[in-house]
Each structure stands twice: as C-alpha cells, then as structure tokens.
C-alpha cells in the first residue's frame, strides 16, 4: 500500500501506551455514580418510579447512598443488605424509599462484606445473560455469514421509536448492515437513562432499555427475512456511559459509540468522570463482544482536516490503548476518522486517501469507522450527494470497515425516509462499481499520497512525544484535540466521581476483562 516507517509507527504505539497508562493510574483509584448505577443495571434493577417523573430506581438508590456517604464502598453490597433488611423486592423498597413510606436505615458501620458471596453469584448470572446474548449474535453470524466490508451503517433519528423501527426496517431492506439509532439531543448530559418506550426525542430518539429491546427484536425479525444478521448500534459516551454499556450488553447491541475523550471535548463532561466511566463501560463492552466506535471524526468538524489530521491519528493511538486497558481486542476497536477535507482543496481526494490509508495501516486489525463529510457540506443537496460519492469511493478504495452512509441533506435536517434510500443507492453503486479498485492500482512512490501520509504520521509522532512529556490532561487543556480546551476541574458530572474506599466492592470487577 504505502511506504511508511514501521519504527515510527511502533514508537507511536509505545508512546500512546505510556500516555494511557498515566491516566489509568489515576482512574483505577476512582469510581463514579454512573459506574455504580451500571452495576445495579447489570444486576437487573431496571424499574423507575411510578410517578410521572419516572426516575430510574438505580438513580433513586444511588443518590440516597451518596447522601448517606457510603457510595465510596460501592453500591451493590448495600443493595443486597437492603433487600434483606426490607425483605421485599428491590423494586418495592426503592419505591417505598422514594415515596417516603419507608426510610433508609443508618448504613454507617454496617458489615456488608458478608453479602459478597451471594452478590458474586448474582453477578455471574448477570454475566451469563450477556454471554447468551453474544452467542446469539455469534450463532447468527455463523449461520448467515458475515457481510462484506465496508459495512453500510445508516442512522435513524425520528425521535419516535415506532417510526424508527419502520425506517430501520426499510433501511435494512435497502441494504444497510448496521442501524444506528441516534440519541435525542444532549441525552448525554442527562445523569440518568430515561425509562420505557419513547416517542418525543429531538433530533434523535432517547436511548432507553426498552427502545433498545424493541429495535433489537425488530431487526432480528427483519434480519431473518433477509437471511442476514442486521447489526444495531447506539451511543455510550456521555454521563451515563457505563450504564449505557450495561444496557447495550444486556439488549445485544453490536456496536456502541464509546470514546475515551468525546464526553470531555464535545459535551464538557468532567475529565476524571469520563476517563473513569469509559474504562468500566468498555470492560463491559469487551465482555459483551460489542465493537466500540471512537469519536475522532468529531475533531474534524471543529478543526480542518488539511491541517489537523495528525490530531485524529494521535487520538486514535491513545484511544486504542485505553481500549486495550479495558480488555478490548483490536477486532472490537472501531477507531473513528472521517472524509472531512475542504471540498476546494486541490488534489483533495488524494490527500483524503492518504489520511484514510494511514489509519488503515497503523491499525491493521481494527474495524475502522469512517465518517462521511459533514463540515463542508452545505444546503446544496445535489452537491452534497456528489461529495458523498467521493467519500464512498475513498472508503472502498482504502479498505474501510464501518462506513457511515452520508446523506445529502446533512446540512439541513434529520434524514428523510427517501433520502436514506438515495444515500444507500449512491453507496452501493460506488462499492460495486469500484469493487476491486484497491487491488488494481499501485500508489506511486514519493507521490502526493505518500508525502501526505508521511507528513501526517510524523506530526502525530511529535504530538505523541509532546503529550508523553506534558501529559494528556495538559494537552486537552491546551485545546489540541478539535481545537477545544477543557480543564481538569471543569465540566459536568464531577460531583459523581469518588475515590474508592479500601472496602470498595464491585462484584463484576474480577469477571470483566
């Protein structure tokens, strides 16, 4: 493919490993209220208060435990204790606590360690459910065979899960391999997961356990009709990253957006919170056989690919190391990048190819996720459709894996039902018309593509060296990624981070990778 200096690439991997390790040392001592809720979710606490607020039970109990200053020990054992104490189902006593019919006993000084064994049993049962789900996936994939890459990944986002189901079905029938249900605007800033079937999302549909289940069931049905396995994906990154991962694992999501830094940069979520959450979230995903997608593509919406592609590459190196620390294998790490070069750049396609190949070469075993043009797409839908054609070509031409289908109305609105069809048509045409394109051409030595790739790699190498020196936190503070600067103390959700006590216990810890 391209002549690159293998030693530089190995050096980049090594530097990224050290950078991630430095953060890992910090986060290992921490847990978050989000992680605690995730633990309870895994243990099957999935109700919500019966009033109209529909506050999830996991939030009710975790908030109470936090107020009672015992969160630092982990929540799960307390729940075991309270089950015994109240001698009702968790649903019941949480509802009672919430409505002040009952009140929390004094928890200070209570010996909860004796509940460990029963809890571990429950954790095993929970994990078994997840294993069963992932073997449903494996079996189905074995039966029907895997789709050829690039996989066609399309979004649905009506806000109404019922409309989403139908649109997803049509998309699958048109050839989509992966359905992504986009989340309602700023759901990532909610410190809880909404409950039940929802119909009122804005620019996306709420990610809820029930919505996950409805979509999963529907896609299984459609997949059976089509004789293939249709993948489902949703978002983890956000204040509920770990919880989302838990729900995704339980409801057999196949992929999840799950980035180590996206929340920090694009949602102004506290750094420590994000780093801590992502670690646990990804361990669950690793266990569940979920492919994660990282969010480096976003950097190219707030900075220019021509100048800043090396920050994407740098971040990919680091994101992958974080993923490894969570036990994810390369086959599960869908590093994100994008076709976001300004449409007026001379030889823009050649440069874009270089960028796309570079990620391909640096991470040969990762199912890269390639995002369509968005930043330089304007309201001219005809031109947007054409830019997407070149994106499709770059994707098949550089062997990308997960291909987010670009839609001609990108600059205007959530895709209309026929716009998705036009986009899939565009993509399938190009993929078929260029099927063996990569094998057919040899890239010229010392040409434009080669020079660009060498240049971007070199810059990423320097940036990694600098980050190793200054630390990832200072790097983010300096606004190196996406041109967005965040401080270690700022951001939402810091109140939910805590140092684990010596007695801290999380029953899943030892079973998760």
């Amino acid at each position: 493919m391209l002549k690159l200096n293998d030693i530089v690439i190995s050096e980049c991997h090594a530097l990224a490993a050290e950078i991630a390790k430095d953060i890992f040392d910090i986060l290992q001592r921490k847990s978050t209220i989000g992680i605690e809720r995730a633990v309870l979710r895994l243990l099957g606490i999935n109700g919500a208060t019966s009033d109209e607020l529909r506050i999830p039970h996991v939030n009710v109990i975790c908030d109470k435990l936090q107020k009672a200053s015992v969160l630092i020990n982990g929540t799960a054992l307390y729940v075991e204790f309270l089950n015994e104490h109240f001698n009702t189902s968790a649903e019941q006593w949480i509802e009672d606590l919430y409505s002040n019919r009952k009140s929390l006993p004094n928890l200070q000084g209570i010996d909860i360690t004796k509940y460990k064994d029963s809890l571990v049993q429950k954790a095993k049962i929970a994990l078994n459910k997840i294993s069963e789900q992932s073997s449903v996936r494996t079996t189905s994939l074995k039966q029907h065979g895997e789709q050829t890459t690039p996989w066609l990944y399309v979004i649905v986002a009506t806000g109404n899960i019922h409309e989403d189901l139908y649109q997803a079905e049509l998309a699958a029938k048109q050839g989509a391999d992966v359905i992504a249900v986009i989340r309602s605007t700023a759901q990532s800033l909610l410190d809880y997961v909404p409950q039940g079937t929802t119909t009122e999302g804005v620019a996306g549909t709420y990610a809820t356990q029930e919505n996950f289940r409805l979509m999963r069931t529907h896609l299984d049905k459609v997949g059976k009709e089509l004789g293939r396995y249709v993948r489902l994906t949703n978002y983890a990154s956000g204040l509920c990253m770990a919880e989302m991962a838990a729900l995704g694992a339980l409801e057999r999501l196949d992929m999840m957006l799950s980035d180590s830094m996206y929340g920090i940069l694009y949602r102004d979520i506290n750094m420590v919170r994000t780093f801590t959450d992502q670690h646990f979230a990804r361990r669950i995903q690793a266990y569940a056989g979920i492919i994660i997608n990282t969010g480096e593509d976003n950097y190219l919406t707030t900075s220019e690919q021509f100048d800043e592609m090396h920050t994407v590459l740098t971040s990919q190196f680091i994101n992958r190391q974080f993923a490894h620390l969570s036990g994810l294998k390369d086959e599960q790490i869908g590093l994100g990048h994008a076709f976001e070069m300004d449409t007026e750049v001379e030889n823009g396609f050649l440069l874009s190819m270089a960028d796309a190949l570079l990620s391909r070469i640096c991470f040969p075993d990762c199912p890269l996720k390639y995002m369509p043009p968005t930043k330089h797409i304007d309201g001219n839908i005809f031109f947007a459709h054409v830019v997407n054609t070149l994106f499709n070509l770059c994707s098949i031409g550089t062997g990308q894996h997960i291909h987010l289908v670009g839609i001609l109305s990108e600059a205007i609105h959530i895709p209309y039902i026929h716009e998705r069809m036009l986009a899939i048509q565009n993509t399938r045409y190009v993929f078929n018309y260029f099927k063996d394109f990569p094998a057919e051409f040899k890239i010229r030595d010392n040409g434009i593509i080669q020079h660009r790739a060498v240049d971007v790699l070199q810059k990423a190498f320097h940036l990694l060296q600098q980050i190793k020196q200054e630390g990832l936190i200072s790097t983010i503070e300096a606004g190196k990624f996406g041109g967005i600067s965040r401080s270690i103390y700022g951001g939402k959700g810091s109140e939910g981070v805590f140092d684990k006590s010596n007695n801290y216990f999380n029953p899943f810890e030892k079973f998760l990778p």
Partner: protein, 237 residues
C-alpha cells in the same frame, strides 16, 4: 369500487407533509425570501426552509428548499377485490381470439427507436420478448421519423388492427401536436374506428394518451407483455 384516503407526503415522519423543491427565480438576491414565501403561499406550502441559493446572475437565483404541504390530499384508491388477471405470452397466444396485424413507428421527427424496438423486436428488452415473437401477431416496424401521412398510408396498406406509436421527444410539447394531428387524421380518414391506437414513450402515461384520443398509453419501463395483455383484454371484451 373506489374509496378515498387522506394523505400527506412523508419526510421525517409519517404524514408530516415535507417535500423538496428547487427552481430558479428571476429576482435580485435581496428579494429571494419574499419571492419564495409568495410562491409557497401560491402552492399552499407552509414553513418554507431555504436550504441553498446559487446566484446564476445578479438577478437570477437558483433556490433549493424544503417545505410542508398545508392540507391533506384526498386520493381515490381502487378497492375492487378483483386482481387483474395478468397473462403470460403462451396464455395470450392460446387465448387470443384473432390474429392481429400491428404497425409500429416512431413518428414525426422522432428517431428514438430503442423504446419501440424494445416492445416490437423478437429479442425484446430486459428479458421480456417483443411482440414479433408472438404467434398471434404480425408486426410491421416502420422505424423512425415516420410522418403521420406516411403512417396512415402504411396502416391502410397493411390493414392494421393495431397502431403503436412511439414519442420520446417532448420539448415544447411537440409530441402533443404530433399525436393530436395523428388522431385527427385517423378520424378524418375513417380509420380510427377499427384501429386500436396505442402510444408509448418515457413521458407518456395512460391518462395523457386517453385524453389525446388513444386507447392506451405506456410509459417508463413498459414491456411487450403489458401491451399484449392490454390487446388481449381489448379484443376479448
């Protein structure tokens, strides 16, 4: 039996009424919004959202927009339970009551023969055999650029039962003129009565054809089998 249904277009969600439009307006940049609003009012469209403008000239602007249709549209839906019996070639050959002589031509100045040939030629088109391959038809393909005068002479000469006309060029409605003239001439010569008159082409549809005085019209993607089925029904009843 026929029933009605109230519908709106579907964009983001069912019945939200969204549509996509584009056109060029001969106005200055500053007058575009007003012009678009007024056009949309005339079209009973609400919430016009201008997505894009290209200046073609200082006083000529290309506009792309999305808007919502204000009211539902009431459409007739045929609810008759009888599913049309669509026959295959062998069935038609067997059951056709008479042998028919078919004369076909691209008329006027039209030289687009691919469509007519697709219907007539033995080998047919996209896997569907043409009318020449039917034992129940004799086909005379006059080819392209046949004047109406010549066409009528050929109809008489061959004692045609069926006339197939292809019209592909429609600029400035040249096909309408051509086809109207043909029907007038057929009526004037008394040939129309005993002749099944069919017109086809990508911009033709059955409604237009019957309005112009033809028995049927066939548009985009029609096949010889469609025509054969029409002839069958027409000759059976």
């Amino acid at each position: 039996m026929s029933n009605t249904l109230n519908i709106k277009p579907v964009g983001d969600r069912m019945n939200d009424g969204f549509l996509q439009l584009s056109f060029t307006l001969p106005v200055l940049k500053k007058d575009i919004t007003d012009a678009v609003n007024k056009m949309c009012r005339q079209m009973n469209l609400t919430q016009p959202e201008i997505a894009h403008i290209t200046a073609l000239d200082h006083n000529l602007h290309y506009v792309q927009l999305f808007a919502r249709i204000a009211n539902e549209v009431t459409v007739s839906i045929s609810t008759s339970g009888v599913i049309e019996n669509y026959r295959n070639r062998e069935e038609i050959e067997k059951q056709m009551p008479h042998h028919l002589t078919i004369v076909g031509a691209c008329t006027g100045t039209d030289a687009h023969t691919v469509g007519l040939d697709a219907i007539l030629n033995k080998k047919g088109y996209k896997g569907v055999k043409g009318l020449e391959s039917y034992t129940c038809f004799s086909v005379v393909n006059l080819g392209s650029q046949v004047s109406n005068v010549k066409l009528i002479a050929e109809v008489e000469k061959h004692k045609a039962d069926v006339l197939l006309v292809s019209q592909v060029i429609t600029h400035h409605n040249v096909h309408i003129h051509n086809l109207t003239e043909l029907i007038d001439m057929l009526e004037a010569t008394g040939l129309r009565n005993h002749l099944v008159c069919i017109v086809g082409g990508p911009r033709i549809n059955d409604q237009l054809a019957t309005e112009l005085g033809f028995d049927a019209g066939f548009g985009i993607g029609s096949t010889a089998l469609d025509v054969a089925n029409f002839l069958f029904k027409n000759k059976i009843v």
